[in-house]
Amino acid sequence: MRYLPLTNDDRQAMLAKIGVRHVDDLFRDVPKADLNPDIDLPRHQSEMMVERQLSRLAAKNTPAGSVPFFIGAGAYKHHVPATVDHMIQRGEFLTAYTPYQPEIAQGTLQYLFEFQSMVAQLTGMDVANASMYDGSTATAEAVMMARRVTRKKKAILAGGLHAHYRAVVETTTQFTDDVIESLAPVPSDPGAELQAAMDAIDDTTSCVVVQNPTVNGSVMDLAPIAEKAHAHKALLIVVVTEVMSLGLIKSPGEMGADIVVGEGQSIGNGLNFGGPYLGLFATNQKYVRQMPGRLCGKTTDTEGKEGFVLTLSTREQHIRREKATSNICTNSGLCSLAFTVHMSLLGEKGLRQTALVNHKRATDVRNAVAAIDGIEVLNSTFFNEFTVKLPTSAAPVVDKLAADGVLAGVPMSRLYPGDGFDDLLILAATETVSEDDIQILAAKLKEALS
């Protein structure tokens, strides 16, 4: 067995040193009747055999990169430079633990500091933490943090919040003091959707959670709702599921957000069928001590040399136990490294240009599908994603196109089953979409609808 270095001679010598005859003597506290049960699973296999079987499973899936691809809704197909994956596979990063011993973990700690700085800049906030599991769990944590900060309980989820994020907030807070008011999506009128959230704010409100761009792709000015929230001493939580949009669109911080949470997968991380992803969490300086998750901070060593440590850990579970701000321990360390490497390659210049190309591709797709009879584009604003209304149910159309080798977006009914959105389709286009892809999509859609 290739991962086990001990030989039988080693084992015998070690058992002799320990002073027992058989390894099962070390398991003497395990109830005898339950020790060494029959395990009906295959025996060990060579690397080649395992690779063969797993490759066979992988081959049953259709990779995004192999077809014209227009799926988004919170996870996006972007080009990740080869350098990113190479760097995160360095064993010193890959096989390190959470940096509890800072003298031999400055590599991890420095990139975490760089990561926190980049996320703060992108979101337009003062500080960011060292990551959460993903955007959806970060959103739930933000809602609970708002309760701690405001000592109020009512959280308003605007209609434009991704259905999964809403569900995660509702699930996670079902046994806490939070009261969640979820508003209905209004895909055809994002202005009305936002207005409904504004109207729901009152003096009992702890926070209002708004996604930008919305799940339907609309880009919203959040300054008015920030103002209304602040007038009622409530926090504005802005959710960003497409972090690439921050290269083109005004940051949540500039629009008055108090907490920004997001999904960082778009930068540095692959689609991975939904995980591992990268939860972003940023806020303003005055709320730092109410934040969940790890924080890396600057300090000096005994010789005055600058370095980094995990800090403000008195918020955390391993110190505060049941009084902690969150139970989170392991987060998304390596995904945050991928983000940091990709961001270092992009820089502001590359980020802005990539974001602009995303918007251009989405504009091209919008123009192409808007020209098809029977399709109505619902968005007046968008970044790299928008919603169209089809003259028929979207799911069968998407299935038909999938059979034809085109992955043509997300039927809104996949996210909101039974909510009357069966004819709506969410289409995304990133820099990976080619002009040919767009023509194929348009032709196949036309064919499917005729």
Binding site: P37, P99, E103, C329, L407
Partner: protein, 518 residues
């Protein structure tokens, strides 16, 4: 002095007068040989530099509602060579499993097989979107089903929820299911019992689910005090959270008795499965009366820790709880695999967007298939053997907290350092000078100055003997009053001890542009 054919010395030169080696000068560069100083990327890059070539496009009409980002973002860029160099330099300041023994108790720092990495990067796994039509991801759903089969077979439990993102998230899932089950039978309960040796995540999780936490003391032999536990059990107790093997590295020998008592009181038994590595293939939690238990795929099943994640924390459930498992979950139908994403009324709900940590599922299954049923049992045995070898080899110079044998980790406390002035922290830092990552220190809280050593099964006897030699050397010196090597340790790390108090008192959590000099 020996010279080569060009007349250059072939060995370091000693100073002629003193006989000492050439002294180390402070360098002009700030580097010290292979220790390369490396500033922040913000100090190296500019907002106009980039390491990517993005296509140029002609002007077009934007549709962002006039909300263009006009102000500078400030993110620095570097050309590709400098990015590679920056992160390579940073990586060399880190200790990882790839570099040596990493005996961090409770964390199971075993070898991370590279086959796993290769498999997770197959485009058929790494490049599929969670919302693709199900007809295009049947292989992914089959893999999740196969992983579930391995997990339920190894644990002897009827059901598993794959989606929790890490161990603590799994705990949340498990305790929520317990609360959902209790509420479904109209049984409001208020209290969760945790042993005082519990991981901090246990009480934090219980509090998150709206429960009051009551602590149960340990017995002198390091196990939960079953009598105290039984005395605390009544119809206000929702659940008992017990780690088994426990955080002292010991198997709870009264576990079935405890489980029976928990069930008799109408409560549920949550088992923290962080230490499953000791018992995989040896005993099934399902045979011990467990109702819910998370597994850490990033501990037991070899997916990399990555400097703090990503993890993956699937939760297994008993028959009493399985109907309350979270969505989504995969089901096999006549036409292939399907995902239940909504509409399950008893389910506790959705804990994360999409379907969980697919990348970790692939790695864990790759590991399980490689080891097989025989190798998994052998791995547990070797992990326990290595830990007991440490315990037996160090027992005379360090103070083992409890009589052996232990499971997969050996617990020492600081009694052997009494009156030496050397603390557990000093001892840990001296291990860094020996070339090892320190063991877990000051945890569990039930012994003074805890040192929790978990070697794992992927260390050879040679590695164990080397490690033991270092530990014996350190312990012997400390006890002999030779404390200099401890006081300022680490001496050989690239940084000396870092000031955590200063970091917390005036937090600097991000880069800011330095103000221009007047």
């Amino acid at each position: 002095m020996s010279m080569n054919s060009q007349g250059r010395p072939t060995a370091p030169t000693a100073d002629n007068d003193t006989g000492e080696m050439t002294p180390v000068f402070e360098s002009f560069s700030g580097h010290q040989g292979l220790r390369i100083a490396e500033p922040l990327v913000f100090e190296l890059g500019t907002t106009q530099t980039t390491g990517v070539d993005v296509e140029e496009i002609e002007d077009f009409e934007l549709s962002v509602g006039g909300l263009e980002r006009d102000s500078e973002i400030g993110c620095p860029g570097l050309a590709e060579p400098d990015v590679v160099r920056h992160f390579t330099r940073l990586s060399r300041r880190n200790y990882g499993i790839d570099m040596g023994v990493f005996p961090l108790g409770s964390c199971t720092m075993k070898h991370n097989p590279r086959l796993n990495e290769k498999m997770a990067r197959l485009p058929g796994f790494g490049d599929i979107h969670p919302l693709q039509p199900l007809s295009t991801v049947q292989g992914a759903l089959e893999l999740m089903t196969e992983l579930s089969h391995w997990i339920t077979t190894l644990t002897g439990m009827p059901a598993v929820a794959l989606s929790p993102k890490a161990g603590a998230h799994g705990e949340l899932c498990g305790v929520m299911a317990i609360r959902a089950a209790l509420e479904a039978r109209g049984d409001a309960r208020e209290i969760v019992l945790c042993p005082e040796s519990a991981h901090g995540t246990n009480p934090a999780t219980a509090a998150f689910c709206g429960y009051k936490v009551k602590s149960i003391p340990a017995k002198e032999n390091g196990r939960v005090d079953a009598e105290a536990l039984k005395a605390a059990l009544d119809d206000t107790v929702a659940a008992v959270m017990i780690t088994n093997p426990n955080t002292c590295g010991l198997f709870e020998d009264e576990i079935k008795d405890i489980a029976d008592a928990i069930h008799a009181a109408g409560a549920f038994f949550y088992c923290d499965g962080a230490n499953f590595n000791a018992i995989m293939g040896k005993v099934r939690p399902g045979d011990l009366g467990v109702d819910a238990m998370h597994l850490n795929l990033h501990k037991t099943f070899s997916t990399p820790h990555g400097g703090g994640g990503p993890g993956s924390g699937p939760v297994v459930f008993s028959d009493a709880l399985k109907d309350f498992a979270p969505m989504p979950y995969v089901v096999a139908g006549a036409d292939g695999f399907d995902i239940v994403e909504d509409g399950d009324d008893t389910s506790l709900g959705r804990l994360t967007a999409y379907h969980g940590q697919m990348g970790m599922y692939v790695r864990a299954l790759s590991y399980m298939m490689s080891h097989g049923s025989d190798g998994i049992r052998q791995a547990a045995e070797d992990a326990v053997l290595n830990a007991n070898y440490v315990l037996a080899s160090l027992g005379d110079v360090m103070s083992a907290s409890f009589d052996g044998p232990c499971m997969h980790e050996a617990l020492f406390d600081d009694r052997f350092l009494k009156d030496t002035g050397v603390t557990t922290l000093d001892f840990a830092k001296a291990m860094i000078d020996e070339g090892y990552h320190p063991m877990t220190m000051y945890f569990p809280l039930v012994v003074h100055g805890a040192m929790l050593v978990e070697p794992t099964e992927t260390e050879s006897k040679y590695n164990m003997d080397q490690f033991i030699r270092s530990m014996r050397g350190l312990a012997t010196e400390a006890r002999a009053g030779k404390t200099a090597r401890f006081e300022g340790a680490p001496y050989h790390a690239p940084w000396k001890r870092l000031d955590e108090t200063q970091a917390a008192r005036q937090p600097v959590l991000r880069y800011t542009v330095p103000e221009a000099a007047e």
